[in-house]
């Protein structure tokens, strides 16, 4: 595209004087300047005026931000990682420190009260069983006075073992009751407990609760009783009374 001829007062002269023309535009203006001394004088005058104007304007005072404003900007540019660290420090300490603290307390507790964990381990299922029995009193183990024992173990020892297995007994009962809601009556199991505490034989002596008797029979075979004091086996007769309304 052919551009228009450059004349006096042309804005391309101003752009040329200020160095704002591209190469093509510069060449065009320079060609015109070569031919026209008046245009050269005009460009020179614009340049001189620009220099004066620049000097005058740049001498003006430069107001700056107030120190607190500058500080706010600079502090906003601080890495947030530090503040994040600070914010989550206590959470991190808690999450990492709590397990370590628990482990330390366990070790110290075991050293100070060596038997406590075992006593606790025995207590917890029993407590749970008692709660279950209390809330749904459908059956119970035999009382010590009802247990017939011949051998080195006492009825109290046998009952303590039964108490340890109340949850399993309850599970057997619930299953049998689910199948036969009318479940009622009595059943008696006989066990042969060796001197080492293991149950080597067991059988149903009397039962009005089919299903429950077999479940309990399986159960007692897995029990372990304490060792007898005279290294003799023990014969045990366990009567269970089944009373849904109890």
């Amino acid at each position: 595209m052919k551009s228009h001829a450059i004349h006096s007062g042309d804005e391309r002269l101003t752009a040329y004087a200020l160095g704002e023309l591209n190469l093509e535009g510069q060449r065009e203006v320079e060609l015109a300047l070569e031919k026209n001394p008046a245009l050269r004088a005009e460009v020179q005058a614009i340049r001189e005026f620009s220099v004066t104007l620049r000097q005058e304007l740049q001498q003006e005072p430069i107001p700056k931000l107030l120190p607190e404003q500058r500080y706010k900007v600079e502090s906003s540019a601080e890495p947030l990682v530090d503040s994040d660290d600070h914010r989550y420090f206590w959470w991190r300490l808690l999450l990492t420190g709590a397990p370590a603290l628990a482990a330390v307390l366990l070790v110290v507790g075991y050293i100070v009260f060596p038997g406590a964990p075992f006593r606790l381990a025995k207590l917890v299922p029993e407590r749970i069983a008692r709660i279950l029995v209390k809330t749904r009193p459908l059956t119970s183990g035999p009382a010590a006075s009802e247990i017939q024992v011949t051998g080195s173990l006492t009825a109290a020892v046998i009952q303590s073992v039964i108490d340890e297995h109340l949850v399993e007994i309850r599970r057997c009962y619930n299953e049998a009751h689910r199948l036969r809601p009318e479940l009622n009556g009595k059943l008696t199991l006989s066990l042969h407990v060796e001197a080492d505490g293991s149950v080597t034989s067991s059988q149903i002596e009397e039962s009005t609760a089919p299903g429950l008797d077999r479940c309990l029979l399986q159960l007692v075979r897995s029990w372990n009783f304490p060792k007898g004091t005279h290294s003799e086996p023990t014969e045990v007769h366990l009567p269970f009374s089944i009373n849904p309304d109890a």
Binding site: T14, E20, E60, P63, V73, E74, A77
Partner: protein
């Protein structure tokens, strides 16, 4: 979500503050006629700069800062006009008003060149300041003001032409005044 601060951000913003806080505050105080508000606008713009994505501003941070400051200043001026019913719809040229920014002009007010500048329309004054005070190119000015480059060239050309004529006229007038004989003191008897 604002970008996470990197370790080098503080040094980066300090460098930009050192380079631009003065020119920006001066520029905005000219637009608003209020140095204190100009400072607030500039501070706010730097805070916004920290929130901006670096990839969006790299290579043209100067333009970005001037543009954000300018837009904010225009918003404030519009709001002021709404709040002052008497001035509604009337543009108050900051350089002509007797505002707190007058201190900026006080030292140079007598100079004919700057006097000629105050007579220009607001948009011509702005391009002249951006070009000669802040040393920005036509392209940068066009982006800041939202104009075409040729429009910027025209405004600058017209402003220079007017100012040259105005200063020439003032020189002639002051020359004529100096040639006039002094009136006898005390008057005629």
């Amino acid at each position: 979500m604002p970008p996470k601060r990197a370790a080098g951000d503080k040094a980066w913003i300090q460098g930009l503050l050192a380079k631009h806080e003065g020119p920006l505050t001066r520029y905005v105080s000219r637009l608003l006629g209020d140095v204190e508000r100009a400072r607030e606008v500039v501070q706010e713009s730097f805070l916004r700069l920290l929130e901006a994505k670096r990839s969006d501003i790299d290579g043209h941070v100067t333009e970005w800062l001037f543009t954000v400051c300018r837009n904010r200043a225009i918003d404030l001026k519009r709001r002021d006009r709404r709040q002052l019913p008497l001035a509604e719809g009337v543009e108050i040229p900051a350089e002509e008003s007797e505002s707190p920014s007058a201190f900026l002009e006080s030292a140079q007010k007598q100079r004919s060149l700057l006097h000629a500048l105050t007579k220009l329309p607001a948009n011509q004054r702005e391009v002249i300041r951006l070009k000669f005070q802040e040393e920005l190119s036509y392209r940068e000015i066009s982006r800041i003001m939202g104009l075409s480059e040729s429009n910027v060239g025209y405004l600058i050309h017209t402003a220079i032409k007017t100012m040259r004529e105005e200063t020439k006229k003032e020189e002639i007038e002051s020359g004529q005044r100096s040639k006039q004989p002094m009136a006898p003191q005390g008057g005629e008897r």
